[in-house]
Symmetry: C2
Subunit: 311 residues, 2 copies
């Protein structure tokens, strides 16, 4: 065996793959929704050291996460200044501290898919290696105490199938939604050590909307009864679904295709078997929202400590 | 004929319908993603006079639209202050000047559907009447000079069918994507009077993502050839598709279900038969983006003038 060959194979698997031969033909690639481009930004200098990418729906939450992680890693900016690296656009917000990148993705599969396309290309162009991507989100729980954190074992669609279907050139393409089991286990282990709140591993259902698609009775439209709603949620529960959100399937599918280790960590803001409205106080919702951040922060800190121990 | 009965029927058709009997049972309805609620806000006092709702993906664009319309209607705030009525959340932004409401909806069908559910409930609770909803967006054109404005005659899915399919309790529900033809004609007529740029009426295709779903060759993933891409876009062109964006089908479906007169007015930022990248200068893209705003602003002004003439 040629050791160089082995190294190359290993190096390749450590990089972020793009699955698109056409990109080689582009002299300048404009990452439009980030307001970044290969022709105007030195992406390797800006992002080459990234090892952890945390993504979440809300730009405010992703800013608060970078402030939190900066403090945890003793990498605080003395003036508390964490610039938005996508300041030229309001589509997404992006912050960076050391090896941690924090990016917002908006609501729903389409919004996160645009962001992930450009993120994957960015990590590829920046020659990043061994990147882990973790979605830090909020969700509705099924049969769980509000505030419980769910680490996703598998992302499923609203018919409980572990797949993401999208139309390419008008024809359906079905992709696997497997997530990294090792990473999920490590996160669960981390929560046991942290011991501040409950975390479980379970199946996460990804819905296409917040109201009818999640069997809520409180949208502008509702054509089903409360009994039918509860039967559906009960069926989900029996299929192992612990929580419902709106991005996990496409997130899992795209990370898997790019060879990125990925995890989904969402706090549950309510128990959907008990109701539909997010009517807890702002303070309680805020406090619960922070749990996924706390857990992921703890995990990153532990990983970096282990790594510096090896160096 | 009982004139009262006639009046009631007419009044009913002028209101914003919610299609959900469960809402009557709610004592307080929390519009979570707006950070507004019936229990804490007097929605009728805040929004009862709204006649035009303009929605668009970008919060910045919707703020600039309200500033523009304020100037057009001679309703400028002397201090240039247009507060975000959803300031307690970063999910959506909302601005109001007189009878015009301007709301951002983020990217994609899921994101706009969450916003529209809460907007329709808001308009319903505020007892608004005769409301017109216009989406002001950006899009990729097919065979059109960049900068051309497309007024949507019909919104279609990526297989060119005029429908929006969503899963409710795990089962597909198909909804019509008809838009108000009279409103579309009035907008086109308005553009002829304005005579500043070209506008056409045509079919708009709504894709689930920006890259593969729109046959782009420049995403993180691409499994088709340039020839296959062009064949697909050519088929779309032959089916009457003038432009591609990411929200029109669900927007049309939800407005129709609520009895709202609705239109989609999107500028084309590039010609997809010529390329995929948005690489025009920032200034040109900005200038083109404003065209849909200019046209809709002109329409609103004309409507209000006609109405004050009748009063």
């Amino acid at each position: 065996m040629d050791p160089k060959g082995t190294d190359q194979t290993e190096a390749c698997s450590r990089h972020v793959c793009v699955n698109n031969p056409h990109l080689e033909l582009l002299t300048d690639d404009v990452l439009y929704h980030f307001d970044l481009a290969t022709g105007t930004h030195d992406l390797t200098a800006m992002f080459g050291d990234v090892k952890f990418v945390c993504v979440g729906g809300s730009a405010w939450r992703m800013k608060s996460f970078i402030e939190y992680i900066a403090a945890e890693l003793n990498m605080e900016d003395p003036e508390g200044h964490y610039p938005n690296l996508c300041a030229g656009t309001d589509r997404y917000a992006m912050y960076k501290v050391g090896p941690v990148l924090s990016v917002s993705h908006g609501i729903g599969v389409s919004s996160i898919s645009v962001m992930l396309n450009e993120l994957i290309k960015l990590l590829h162009y920046a020659h990043c290696t061994d990147v882990k991507v973790i979605r830090i989100g909020t969700s509705g729980g099924i049969g769980l105490e509000p505030g419980t954190v769910v680490i996703t074992k598998q992302a499923v669609d609203p018919t409980f199938r572990p797949q993401f279907e999208q139309l390419v050139l008008g024809k359906p393409v079905v992709r696997s939604t497997d997530l990294d089991q090792g990473l999920a286990e490590e996160l669960l282990q981390c929560n046991e050590e942290l011991s501040q709140f409950r975390a479980v591993m379970g199946i996460t259902m990804c819905a296409m909307d917040f109201y009818e698609g999640q069997a809520r009775l409180d949208g502008a439209f509702c054509s089903f009864t409360e009994k039918e709603k509860l039967e559906y949620l009960q069926k989900a529960h029996e299929a192992g679904v612990c929580n419902i959100e709106m991005e996990s399937t496409v997130f899992a599918a795209m990370c898997k295709l790019s060879g990125l280790q990925a995890a989904v960590v969402c706090v549950t803001l309510l128990d959907r078997l008990q109701g539909d409205q997010l009517s807890s106080s702002h303070e309680v919702l805020q406090q619960h929202s922070k749990r996924a951040q706390t857990l992921v922060g703890c995990y990153i800190k532990k990983q970096l400590k282990a790594k510096s121990g090896h160096d």
